[in-house]
């Protein structure tokens, strides 16, 4: 029972891990704001770097706050999330790719 309780505690994170996640997410918001507002990089480099920050932020939400690794094995939630991400990337990437033949995107 104590092993179970210990695991339970670990799964739901601690104040420390929440604070680390929060501070990281604030930093990862301030950096792209600065890059855009101060025009620090070229347009392509700006888009690439702020998208990288967004993806990192998303991972922080998943790991620090949503505890994606939590729960019984097998981790059906992780598998479903990966499948969902494949759909989302296909829809967004495919739409941009197809529509860019009309020379209207960017």
């Amino acid at each position: 029972m104590s092993a179970h309780e210990h695991q339970h505690h670990e799964d739901h994170g601690s104040v420390k891990s929440y604070i680390i996640g929060f501070v990281l997410s604030i930093i990862l918001s301030i950096i792209p704001i600065m890059i855009v507002v101060k025009h620090m990089l070229s347009p392509v480099a700006t888009i690439a770097s702020i998208l990288v920050m967004a993806v990192l932020q998303f991972l922080i939400q998943l790991f620090f706050f949503m505890h994606i690794r939590e729960g019984e094995r097998p981790r059906y939630n992780v598998m479903a999330l990966i499948l969902g991400m494949v759909f989302v990337v296909t829809i967004v990437g495919g739409s941009i790719w197809v529509m860019s033949f009309n020379s209207q995107v960017q």
């Binding site: 929060f22 939400q61 019984e72 941009i96």
Partner: protein, 200 residues
């Protein structure tokens, strides 16, 4: 002994049910991800189609969307603190953090409603251009999600006041917390793709 075994069995059963329901909610969130994905794809394709009307650069105000971002990030953190308080069995701290989370959510929705009203007042309505149709649909769908979350959270606060922390209310708080973090994750992409790329 038999009683203990029966108790254990019951315990296992409710734990199993809880994890199954959590998985069901994860699957809902993933379908929601796909919904937002299609709206993002539409927005990205149409963002340059302004039909001679206002562009994102002219419309978006940096202090407003930056404030919205920090409010939502903070509310995601406080909803996490609510879950921690719940795991410690502290009902009052749980309710307190939920109230703070809901107030931050309300401030976010307030800023967004104000932003939409200002845009419409300046002639940037949903029917002005393809860009604005995509913008209001995408950002409005997220705002609607936050508003529904607020109503839901308010209901849960009343349920906690009446029933306290039970197996059922615990599961419900876990699920709303998951929903709230998810909305924050979606906002990060709105903030990056719609607002930051709009003003650069």
């Amino acid at each position: 002994m038999a009683q203990a075994a029966a108790h254990d069995h019951h315990h296992d059963h409710t734990e199993h049910e809880t994890s199954l329901k959590m998985l069901g909610f994860w699957i809902f969130l993933i379908t929601d991800c796909i919904l937002f994905g299609t709206l993002f794809a539409t927005f990205v394709v149409l963002r340059t189609h302004t039909d001679g009307g206002p562009t994102g650069k002219e419309l978006f105000e940096v202090p407003i969307f930056v404030a919205e971002t920090f409010i939502l990030l903070t509310s995601s953190f406080t909803s996490g603190l609510a879950v921690l308080a719940m795991n410690k069995g502290n009902r009052n701290a749980l309710i307190g953090w939920l109230v703070i989370t809901a107030l931050l959510g309300l401030a976010f929705v307030g800023l967004e409603v104000n932003e939409f009203a200002t845009l419409a007042h300046d002639g940037a309505t949903i029917s002005r251009s393809a860009f604005l149709s995509a913008f209001f649909t995408l950002v409005g769908t997220h705002g609607l999600h936050v508003s529904i979350g607020l109503l839901w959270m308010t209901g849960l606060i009343f349920q906690l006041l009446r029933r306290g922390i039970t197996g059922v209310t615990k599961r419900k708080i876990m699920i709303i917390s998951l929903y709230w973090h998810f909305l924050d994750a979606v906002w990060i992409f709105l903030f990056t793709v719609v607002y930051l790329m709009g003003v650069m």
